[in-house]
């Protein structure tokens, strides 16, 4: 039975268990003729039965599917001819991949020999056995649980308390997923990054000036060792983010000021959502816009002025990224400007200040911590932004701060290193995780600082 249909069966059976439990409760209550009341209402007896059926079965189901592939693979490998089994691990994994592809009926990289075909059949057989066993085990478990809980249903059974206890455990379990996600990110990135730093020293990575991660296949080729000095990559990221912030901060801040201080109700009602639309557009759309429209325009204007502009200039990517970030800056600044108490404005006006003087001398200074926090959040967004730079920025790592040249960024490198062939024993693939680690740490620090500033600021006026 396929896992998906088994899942449906499990859910149907749990629903059935609910009715079984409820009927039993009704039956007991009926027999007691109302002389003694059930402790809980019958629906709780039903729910208790259903939960006891569903939860253990679902846990078994999940674990089974997680470990199934590995166990079957090992069983299949054990039965392969000795010549295949003695292959080095990376070749062996290719063979296993072929077997899996053969089994699922998709393309194969080499013509299938009888041994492979047999292995694939073996794989398919084992998987069928495994799925059937899973079906039998889970359904048996459910039946046993249903019978057991049903036999325990009695007048005094505190079914509601049990159900609520189980639900509370489920709620707690759900809330820990955020923690597990963070742990998962740190562990996965850190583990591969440490493997990378075993090959390439940390100092070379952080302070090296040369980045060319393409490893040659033959040892005698030029640049065969690959160079992993990430400074040009970091500098490119900083350059593009700086251009983006130069666009986003003035426009975002000024539009927030205008909307909250000058604009009438109607302009505000129209303009604010329209600016928010800029934040809702997928980044891949901005990337397309940057690569196919903005970059050629900038190059043409540059050549009119006699400048030599690269077709994947940092300027185009940064400019479009800045447009994307405008709403982040403006909506956060808007919040903070509105949070400045009216009394400060009234005080400034009563001293004869004009509106712009009030804004510049009183409101903005009062809101500046919050605005800085918002800008920091926007910077972290710019650093982590991927699609725009993948589509509009370059691949080659140039050590330059000339915005008309092509530069590359951390996220571009992660994507180019990981899309396509991955070998988890070459520094080339692992370098992506080292870059990911740096990216995660930097954005995490920015976020923590920004959130701290923002919270401090909010407390100030509350």
């Amino acid at each position: 039975m396929a896992p998906v249909s088994l899942l449906v069966v499990l859910l149907v059976l749990s629903t059935a268990a609910y009715y079984v439990g409820r009927r039993k409760a009704f039956a007991i209550a009926g027999r007691a003729e109302g002389a003694v009341k059930l402790h809980s209402r019958p629906i709780y007896h039903g729910a208790l039965t259903a939960l006891w059926c569903a939860i253990p079965a679902l846990i078994i189901f999940g674990f089974w599917l997680v470990f199934e592939a590995q166990i079957i693979t090992q069983l299949v490998v054990k039965d392969l001819p000795a010549s295949v089994r003695s292959l080095p691990p990376d070749r062996l994994s290719l063979v296993i991949n072929d077997i899996r592809n053969l089994e699922s009926g998709s393309f194969v990289s080499q013509t299938a020999n009888p041994a492979m075909q047999m292995a694939a059949d073996h794989y398919r057989r084992l998987r069928a056995i495994s799925h059937n066993a899973l079906a039998v085990i889970t359904i048996a478990f459910m039946a046993a649980a249903a019978v057991f809980v049903r036999s325990r249903i009695a007048i005094g059974l505190r079914a509601r308390n049990h159900v609520e206890g189980i639900l509370t455990v489920v709620l707690v379990a759900c809330s820990t997923i955020a923690i597990f996600t963070t742990i998962g990110i740190i562990l996965s990135v850190l583990y591969e990054a440490i493997r990378f730093f075993k090959v390439i020293p940390v100092t070379d990575f952080l302070f090296g000036l040369d980045w060319s991660p393409q490893m040659a296949i033959r040892a005698d080729q030029v640049g065969s060792s690959g160079a992993f000095g990430a400074v040009p990559v970091f500098l490119g990221t900083v350059l593009i983010s700086a251009i983006a912030m130069l666009v986003a901060v003035p426009i975002g801040l000024m539009s927030a000021i205008y909307l909250s201080e000058y604009a009438g109700k109607r302009l505000r009602a129209v303009a604010k959502p329209l600016i928010e639309v800029l934040a809702g557009i997928p980044t891949v759309v901005y990337g397309f816009f940057a690569a196919l429209t903005v970059a050629p325009v900038i190059r043409d204007w540059g050549s009119l002025l006699g400048l030599n502009v690269a077709s994947e200039s940092a300027l185009a990517a940064g400019l479009v990224m800045g447009i994307m970030i405008i709403p982040f800056v403006s909506s956060l600044s808007d919040d903070f400007i509105n949070a400045v108490p009216q009394s400060l404005r009234d005080g400034a006006y009563s001293l004869g200040a004009t509106q712009s003087e009030t804004i510049r001398r009183v409101i903005v200074p009062a809101a500046i911590p919050g605005i800085i926090g918002g800008v920091l959040l926007a910077v972290s967004r710019a650093i982590g932004e991927t699609m725009i730079v993948v589509m509009a920025a370059g691949l080659s790592a140039n050590l330059t701060i000339n915005p008309l040249k092509a530069v590359t960024t951390v996220t571009v490198q992660i994507v180019t290193l990981l899309v396509g062939d991955q070998e988890f024993d070459s520094p080339k693939t692992l370098a992506a995780f080292a870059l990911g680690l740096i990216l995660f740490i930097v954005t995490l620090c920015l976020n923590i600082v920004a959130l701290y500033i923002v919270r401090k600021y909010r407390e100030q006026y509350e």
Binding site: I185, T293, L377, T411, F433
Partner: protein, 431 residues
């Protein structure tokens, strides 16, 4: 005291008012300038937005039409043998028909140019026709076949005809043939159903978005099925049950940070954990959905929590007062009132997940996939990644298809956001 200062300051006061009056002009100018900056910042954002839309729509609308050529096809029994209908050489039928139409064309090169007028994908259309109705064999039928993408671009005016021949992708001879076909009424631009119903293809005139749309659908189903219950449960626990402690602080800090972690980092997590550790299949909507779940969870949790805090405490107190347990109070009274807000947050989270592509690149959803995915573990791609792939393709015809795919994506996003707004307007309650 007061009098004394007034008396001594009298001449100074007059000077102050002078200073003020003199500076007034400058200050009002500064005021107007400041106002102008603010207004132009807003205008600038609007202009960017308008440019983006005009650009996309202007490039993309033409992709919904496709040039077709009507040819009399003779379903030659010599070519179509009874038992080899599937593998027969349908291209020969098209070739024959074209050669009959233009008998004066000679020489291999010219013949190749002539056959390249019609898309190489027309063979599938003819095959499907014959397989559906085997009686066609031996008859001559007028059939509309898709034109090659270069011809399509020429007809739509993206290739200029007045350039010298060497700088054009379409030769003079081809233009002459096209003009003759046009004069005979055998050339037409018709609504491009292929674009909406086909999977990906290397040939622009055969490429469609349906594969990517179904991939997006399966991915979002997984995301919705996981992130909504988990997000709501987390929000309920944090708002209604948990006492403030180190533990809940830790959870909150984690949620806030995850909300700001770059999406590509979630891709690295998916690659290392779901693919390498758990051995889940590459390019599958299942894995994409899991990654996007982790990514959208913070959004949903934060929205759900604010929906819960908006429910007034009096509701809770009333429920507890008539003897409900805490769980009953939450499930029967608080959740139904908070549900519209939670759903709004979920729809917005889903819209963001629909537009997300960076983490999906990491888990192999960038593969070139022709088949339309049928389930959660079939190799698939999603709409934004399809846009990314097409944007990289060199053919001119893919530019309009990319823009058209963007239009479809934006339409989906607009619909989802509109649903969220309607939901909010409809069910928003002021207490």
């Amino acid at each position: 005291m007061n009098n004394a200062t007034n008396a001594s300051a009298a001449p100074v006061a007059r000077r102050t008012i002078d200073i003020v009056n003199r500076s007034l002009k400058r200050r009002y100018r500064a005021e107007r300038r400041f106002r102008f900056y603010g207004f132009s910042a807003i205008v600038l954002s609007m202009v960017f937005l308008a440019l983006l839309f005009v650009n996309i729509v202007g490039k993309g609308y033409s992709a919904f039409w496709q040039t077709s050529i009507r040819l009399p096809i003779f379903f030659d029994p010599e070519v179509l043998k009874r038992d080899t209908l599937v593998t027969a050489d349908y291209a020969a039928l098209v070739r024959e028909s074209l050669f009959k139409k233009f008998p004066q064309v000679e020489g291999r090169q010219d013949k190749r140019l002539l056959t390249s007028l019609v898309s190489s994908g027309s063979v599938y259309r003819l095959r499907d026709m014959v397989l559906k109705d085997p009686d066609l064999v031996g008859k001559t039928v007028e059939v509309w076949l898709p034109a090659d993408d270069d011809i399509d671009m020429l007809i739509k005016g993206y290739f200029r005809r007045d350039l010298p021949e060497s700088e054009r992708r379409v030769s003079d001879k081809q233009i002459a043939w096209i003009e003759r076909l046009e004069a005979e009424g055998r050339l037409e631009t018709r609504f491009n159903t292929t674009f909406l119903t086909a999977g990906d293809s290397r040939e622009p005139e055969l490429a469609g978005i349906w594969g990517a749309v179904s991939g997006s659908f399966f991915t979002l189903m997984i995301t919705l099925a996981l992130s909504f219950p988990i997000g709501v449960a987390t929000a309920v626990y944090l708002e209604e049950f948990a006492k403030k402690s180190r533990w809940t602080d830790l959870i909150e800090v984690n949620i806030n940070n995850l909300a700001a972690v770059p999406s590509i980092v979630f891709g690295l997590l998916g690659l290392a954990i779901f693919l390498n550790f758990f051995g889940l299949p590459r390019s599958a909507p299942l894995v994409g959905g899991l990654v996007l779940t982790l990514m959208t969870l913070p959004t949903i949790i934060i929205a759900s929590r604010s929906a819960l805090t908006a429910v007034p405490p009096s509701i809770r107190e009333a429920a507890l007062g008539v003897g409900a347990s805490k769980m009953q109070m939450v499930v029967h009274h608080v959740l139904p009132l908070a549900l519209p807000g939670m759903l709004t947050g979920t729809i917005i989270g889903m819209a963001r997940a629909l537009g997300e592509s960076a983490p999906l690149l990491m888990i192999g959803m960038v593969a070139f996939i022709v088949d339309i995915p049928k389930g959660f573990t079939d190799p698939a791609t999603v709409l934004p990644v399809q846009i990314y792939l097409w944007a990289d393709s060199p053919e001119r015809a893919f530019v309009e298809r990319t823009s058209a795919a963007i239009m479809v994506l934006l339409a989906f996003l607009a619909a989802m956001n509109a649903a969220a707004i309607i939901l909010r307007k409809r069910f928003e309650r002021r207490w």
